[in-house]
């Protein structure tokens, strides 16, 4: 695949005219997707996608396109030459772009983690057998993901990774279920079995009569997957330079009023994790880390190449939406978390968060899956779903009691357009009150 991309790019560079420059990006995957419901196969298939993006530049004028490739070199080349002609015609009709910004240094990078692709048929069969008597629903995704970059200056970058992501839930009845995930590079039957056994243990608790909680404020423990939902919503414009300069960030009170989160909150974009490409679509190499919040105080922004030009800054990200977040650990031992919680809510998952007041970073959302009522450090009963409405400045600020010492790495299972390569590593969070409203 890498050779195909580079040879296609090289052929296109021979078609440039005058002082033109060309940036070429590549995204692709060969993935299997097996959808399961009631521990049976609902839909199963394979997807082969290859998409080439072009940015044809002359001076400060440019035009961009993306084209799905057929995989046939002659057919693809002819299609792309036609696309270049169209972009050339379009470009002359466009004004100069003052924020056009691409790397003119040559930085080659190459990352391959695609030698061994697990057998999807075998893995799915193991899942169905291991969960034989369970109501299992979810998605098994597996295959190779490719990203590439080449420009007419001579830079070449490649990133390919073979990995799987099995994201599923097991249901007791109605909306009472336990959610789990197994993602990585090497499939191990014993790990799957251990996860299924853990779910069986939780389902035994889920099957107890549920408790309905009245609206009000409750002490609560939010497991890492629940915390990730809060951080993900903060990421909707929270950390980008453009959103900061246009006053649209939900963290505007940190900028304008100097508000802070708890001193134990430190958040960074950790590009060094290496699950996503280290290069951007304009040829820049991302720094290993960008410290977004340090000891509760806002620090740096994610800066795309356009924002770097507009605001005289330095490019440090592909887009201004994070994809490799890292929330620092605390010192609460996770094995004692029920005792630390004492009496309150143990929340494994939150769901469908949105802003109820963006300026105040006030969020609303629902509890989902396995959430429990705890008394005197003992789980009493599953709780019916509840809506919360609370501020990040309270949850991760004035009401924060602590973060767990142990963190969890969550590999994003989403697949809009293509399989995600985003990830987040974070601890659980203990708060002295969470406001429930409905």
């Amino acid at each position: 695949m890498q050779d195909y991309f580079y040879s296609l790019s090289d052929a296109l560079f021979t078609k440039l005219e005058g002082d033109e420059q060309l940036l070429v990006g590549f995204e692709g995957e060969d993935s299997d997707f097996v959808r399961l419901n009631r521990n049976k196969i609902r839909q199963a298939g394979g997807v082969a996608q290859r998409k080439l993006s072009l940015d044809l530049i002359e001076g400060k004028r440019h035009a961009e396109a993306s084209v799905d490739l057929a995989g046939n070199s002659e057919q693809d080349f002819n299609q792309l030459v036609e696309t270049l002609k169209n972009l050339r015609q379009q470009r002359v009709l466009l004004p100069e772009d003052p924020y056009l910004h691409f790397s003119t240094d040559i930085n080659h990078t190459e990352y391959h983690h695609d030698n061994e692709v697990i057998n999807s048929h075998d893995a799915v069969e193991q899942v169905l057998q291991t969960a034989d008597d369970m109501d299992l629903v979810g998605i098994f995704a597996n295959g190779i993901q490719y990203s590439g970059f080449a420009n007419s200056i001579g830079q070449r970058n490649w990133h390919s990774s073979a990995n799987f992501n099995f994201d599923w839930s097991c249901y007791h009845a109605e909306d009472k279920a336990v959610k789990s995930n197994y993602a990585g590079f090497v499939w191990q039957q014993d790990k799957l079995t251990a996860k299924i056994e853990s779910i069986k243990h939780q389902l035994a608790i889920i099957s107890r009569p549920s408790k309905t909680i009245d609206p009000g404020c409750y002490r609560a423990y939010l497991a890492p997957s629940a915390v990730s939902e809060i951080i993900n919503l903060m990421s909707w414009g929270g950390f980008g330079l453009k959103s900061h300069r246009t006053k649209t960030t939900p963290l505007i009170q940190m900028l304008e009023q100097g508000r802070t989160l708890a001193a134990s909150i430190s958040l960074r974009e950790n590009h060094a994790r290496g699950l996503a490409p280290i290069f951007t679509g304009s040829g820049f190499i991302k720094p290993e880390q960008v410290q977004l919040i340090k000891s509760g105080t806002y620090q740096d922004c994610l800066v795309s190449s356009r924002s770097a030009m507009e605001y005289d800054s330095v490019t440090n990200a592909e887009s201004e939406y994070p994809g490799a977040l890292d929330l620092a650990a605390g010192n609460l031992p996770v094995e004692n978390i029920l005792k630390e919680l004492d009496t309150g809510l143990y929340i494994n998952n939150l769901w469908y968060l949105n802003f109820s007041d963006r300026n105040a970073c006030q969020l609303t959302g629902m509890t989902r899956f396995a959430c429990f009522w705890v008394e005197n450090g003992e789980i009493q009963a599953p709780v019916d779903v509840m809506r919360f409405d609370d501020s990040v400045y309270d949850l991760l600020g004035t009401n924060l009691l602590g973060l767990t010492k142990k963190r969890e790495l969550i590999l994003d299972a989403s697949s809009y357009g293509q399989r995600s390569n985003s990830s987040i590593e974070l601890p659980g969070v203990l708060v002295n009150q969470l406001r429930l409203t409905l």
């Binding site: 609902r42 649209t248 779903v385």
Partner: protein, 481 residues
């Protein structure tokens, strides 16, 4: 319609698999989007998305393969992959082979267009957006502003071993205006000019969507919201503009009535439903005033089509009539699983995703009240306009929505602006508090371009049309400030 897709189809037929059934859906999508933000032209976006989805039924199993490689070799490889998955799922599948639809229809359909996208040259489109930018930037309080227009043309060719040959071409137009006002740590937005109203058709839709005429009024409202009071709190009447009704319909009628959710397919991701199969035909979903239709025939609406992506012919059906739930939003496969009648709504968002149950066009039918009638009947309430926040539980019951703009209603009259209007409720009871439905004068065709669902994930266009509606005894509140 699309010669290239027909050539690929012919080639495929010559190598078609020896299966119990197969279907091939070929897609050629062309996108173009232009945008001017803060007076600066953004990079023009051009996209060609092209590929095939092959579905094969072998024995008791079904599999699919999607590929952008439409060469003979690429199609053969896809055949092998789909057949392998069909064999693997045999005996392990949720659906029985007899339940897979075997469409045989023949049809051609194209969105009616009065003024084609290409009739306005690129530089004139840029000039239009630049003018809209000037109209949005009314003073220094406006800190971000943007005008955009997008166009998408989808050519779809669906063939099957049962003889189906369905060619459809859809033209979409996506305009929008954004004004952002700021004062210190307070920021307010207004959007319009088609930003939640993308439609099928051509450039003739722009003026119907107030594009770019809405630019300055939107900016003025954004600035006015900076000094508006917070939305009041309490149980009161609300009158929802069509720009909020579309989200209310989408989240608390559309999603809970999707048959694949009711059958449990979405329980790991988008969620389940408070609606169960036994409710169809008898359950009171809303007051007598609530009439909801599945209407694929309103040509300018986002999800109008002649056939769905399982090859089922689409026709208008009542989903809820006089408040009573009649049928779910489920395509042929789901209907076979559930044993109840649905609609033709099995749709795929991209060439590389298999069809699942989607909303398509889901509309609240007009009633007999003018907006003035509704306002005059409210003693204490809020009029809410343009959705900006949405959240609902995984059974699609407990919801909370927020709007860009509110206006207090006191003693039958519209009063001043209020900011951060929010309300919350429960689907199962909210629609029973529908006390008035607007007439044709307030009826608007809008839609959602980012409805997410499915594993693997799919974001799709769905259409919603609605008049303004009035609800009683709603829990209303403002922001945190």
């Amino acid at each position: 319609m699309n010669d290239y897709l027909n050539q690929v189809a012919q080639q495929f037929k010559s190598i078609a698999p020896n299966a119990d059934f197969w279907s091939l859906r070929l897609t050629n999508e062309v996108h173009e989007a232009i945008s001017v933000r803060q007076g600066v032209m953004q990079p023009v976006f051009n996209q060609l998305a092209r590929g095939a989805l092959l579905t094969v039924v072998v024995g008791d199993g079904c599999g699919y393969a999607a590929s952008s490689d439409l060469s003979r070799g690429g199609l053969k490889k896809a055949m092998r992959q789909a057949s392998d998955w069909a064999l693997q799922s045999s005996g392990l599948g949720l659906l029985k082979a007899k339940d897979y639809p075997r469409p045989e229809g023949k049809a051609r359909y194209e969105t009616p267009v009065k003024k084609h996208w290409d009739e306005l040259p690129l530089n004139e489109k840029v000039a239009l957006l630049q003018d809209a930018n000037k109209a949005l930037k009314i003073n220094d309080s406006i800190v971000d502003w943007q005008a955009y227009i997008g166009y998408r043309c989808d050519d779809i060719l669906f063939i099957s071993s049962a003889g189906a040959h369905i060619e459809q071409r859809f033209h979409y137009i996506n305009p929008g205006l954004v004004a952002v006002a700021n004062k210190g740590s307070l920021t307010q937005y207004r959007t319009g000019g088609g930003s939640q109203s993308s439609r099928q058709g051509g450039l003739e839709q722009l003026s119907l969507l107030d594009f770019p005429q809405a630019a300055t009024p939107l900016a003025e409202e954004a600035v006015a919201l900076l000094s508006a009071d917070e939305c009041p709190q309490g149980a009161m009447d609300v009158v929802l503009a069509p720009s909020q009704m579309i989200l209310q319909i989408h989240e608390s009628i559309g999603h809970p009535l999707e048959l694949d959710r009711i059958l449990g397919d979405e329980r790991n991701y988008a969620g389940t439903s408070f609606v169960t199969q036994d409710m169809f035909g008898s359950y009171r979903y809303g007051s007598d005033l609530l009439n909801v239709s599945f209407d694929p025939g309103r040509t300018e609406q986002l999800a109008s089509y002649a056939y769905d992506d399982e090859g089922t012919p689409a026709q208008r059906e009542y989903i809820i009539r006089n408040g009573i739930l009649e049928r779910p939003l489920g395509g042929a496969s789901s209907q076979a699983r559930a044993g109840i009648q649905g609609v033709a709504n099995a749709r795929q968002a991209d060439w590389f995703r298999p069809p699942i149950d989607r909303m398509a066009n889901l509309n609240v039918e007009p009633g007999d009240k003018s907006v003035e009638d509704m306002i005059s009947s409210v003693e204490n309430g809020v009029y809410m306009d343009t959705n900006r926040s949405w959240s609902i539980d995984d059974s699609r019951n407990k919801f909370q929505f927020g709007c860009e703009l509110g206006r207090v209603i006191k003693n039958g009259e519209l009063k001043g602006l209020v900011r951060n209007p929010n309300y919350r409720g429960i689907s199962a009871t909210f629609w029973r508090n529908l006390v008035a439905v607007g007439n044709e004068n307030s009826f608007q065709v809008q839609g959602v371009t980012n409805c997410g669902k499915g594993e693997p994930n799919q974001a799709i266009y769905v259409g919603h049309a609605s008049p303004a509606c009035q609800f009683s005894d709603v829990d209303v509140f403002g922001g945190a400030a």
